[in-house]
Symmetry: C2
Subunit: 244 residues, 2 copies
């Protein structure tokens, strides 16, 4: 057996013997007008890696869990540090712990997914190493982050179909058409306006305001307000809260 290969084999068992590192990452979704159609579409911010594993590639914002934060606070801090924004929704996505996610040391990543309101997302800071991308059709990312984003997208679509998540991508006041546009952007299909309106009013976590959105070349639509948990984010589930 050659000395070199023996050494690397020893390295493998060595690094697997030491305790895995713990990291927090966050998938951040926001609505932005697509360049082409102008219709709102899903975007997310990524950061460019400046160190060696996958240096130069884009990756999810995150890092090792160093501070004395709860997992959720650490995820919110990711968001704050990279975009300067506060989440309007934040939920744990999954803990990824495969043995070979990172080439050097074993890393277990606890990943959160977040939504920020479109108004705030418009003023998110970008830089050389922080850029926003369309959520669909991403290129290869660092580590397994591409698959993580796909999984987050699937979860987002799932929650959207029977839930009240859509409002967290909008501002405080919105028209029903805007809510419908969110559904259409996320689920990627058209929705009948009339039926959509009817269902929303039943399931209703919204209330009508007295205001109307002026300035269009049509009949001005009424503005609504979300009456569930407002701007604060809250844990994944209604009943027993797994936040600890």
């Amino acid at each position: 057996m050659e000395r070199q290969s023996f050494a690397s084999a020893a390295n493998v068992s060595e690094r697997l013997a030491q305790p895995p590192a713990l990291a927090i990452s966050t998938v951040i979704f926001a609505l932005r007008p697509s360049e082409s159609s102008g219709r709102p579409t899903l975007w997310l911010p990524l950061v460019r890696r400046i160190r060696e594993p996958f240096k130069g590639l884009w990756a999810l914002p995150g890092g090792p869990l160093t501070r004395a934060d709860s997992l959720q606070d650490a995820a919110a801090r990711n968001l704050q540090d990279t975009t300067g924004l506060a989440p309007s929704y934040l939920e744990q996505l999954y803990a990824f712990g495969g043995l070979h996610r990172s080439p050097s040391q074993r890393v277990v990543s606890i990943v959160y997914w977040a939504m920020v309101q479109s108004a705030e997302a418009a003023m998110a800071r970008e830089s050389e190493n922080v850029k926003w991308f369309r959520a669909d059709g991403l290129d290869a990312l660092a580590f397994d982050h591409r698959q993580i984003v796909d999984y987050a997208l699937w979860r987002l679509r799932n929650k959207m179909t029977y839930g009240s998540i859509a409002y967290h991508l909008l501002g405080e006041k919105f028209t029903l058409a805007q809510v419908r546009e969110v559904y259409e952007a996320v689920l990627d299909r058209t929705v009948d306006p009339a039926n959509f309106r009817r269902q929303l009013k039943q399931t209703a976590h919204i209330e009508a305001t007295d205001e109307y959105l002026q300035g269009g070349k049509h009949r001005p639509p009424r503005l609504y307000r979300y009456t569930g948990a407002t701007s604060e984010y809250f844990p994944a589930t209604n009943p027993p809260s797994p936040n600890a």
Copy 2:
């Protein structure tokens, strides 16, 4: 300031500075006949703690992530080691990472939940330090494990209402009435037999066999077989698999 309290304050910041420990725990559900009514109810195995944090109290099977296992394999090993059984379903529940879950060191627990078939659960080994309990009405457990169990129960009920999980608690062949009993045990309400049958046959991941269950004092019911993923467990979701 007294010396004692100064020392303990130093300890607090010290232990929060060192990296958190990583543990895997597993909530294991199985169906067992209740002592009183004889109807099947939900049970789960717990292990008695023999060391000091919460010594003597009951806790979820698990421990630090030491081996070079994937997270899911580590959870399956928990199950194997404490009960001698293999899971028929295994899925990640949540990552709990609160700062004060464990009194001494900070511990981040990645918790899985599993289901084992009732036939096998009947021959699960018990001992002085491993006992089965009814899933509802548990006493105080070690750490935050009581809340974790409650959350797992909620997830189980949720999956049950629109999913094909029930079969994993039964054997290979089963009557429709047995499936209904699973639903009634987990959801804790009665279900109309006729309507239940109708819905199962539509959503159908089952097929009828030619066999009938003899021996009762009634018309013998037909045996069915599950046609989805059989005894092997599979990841949480259909579309993108987060297993890594």
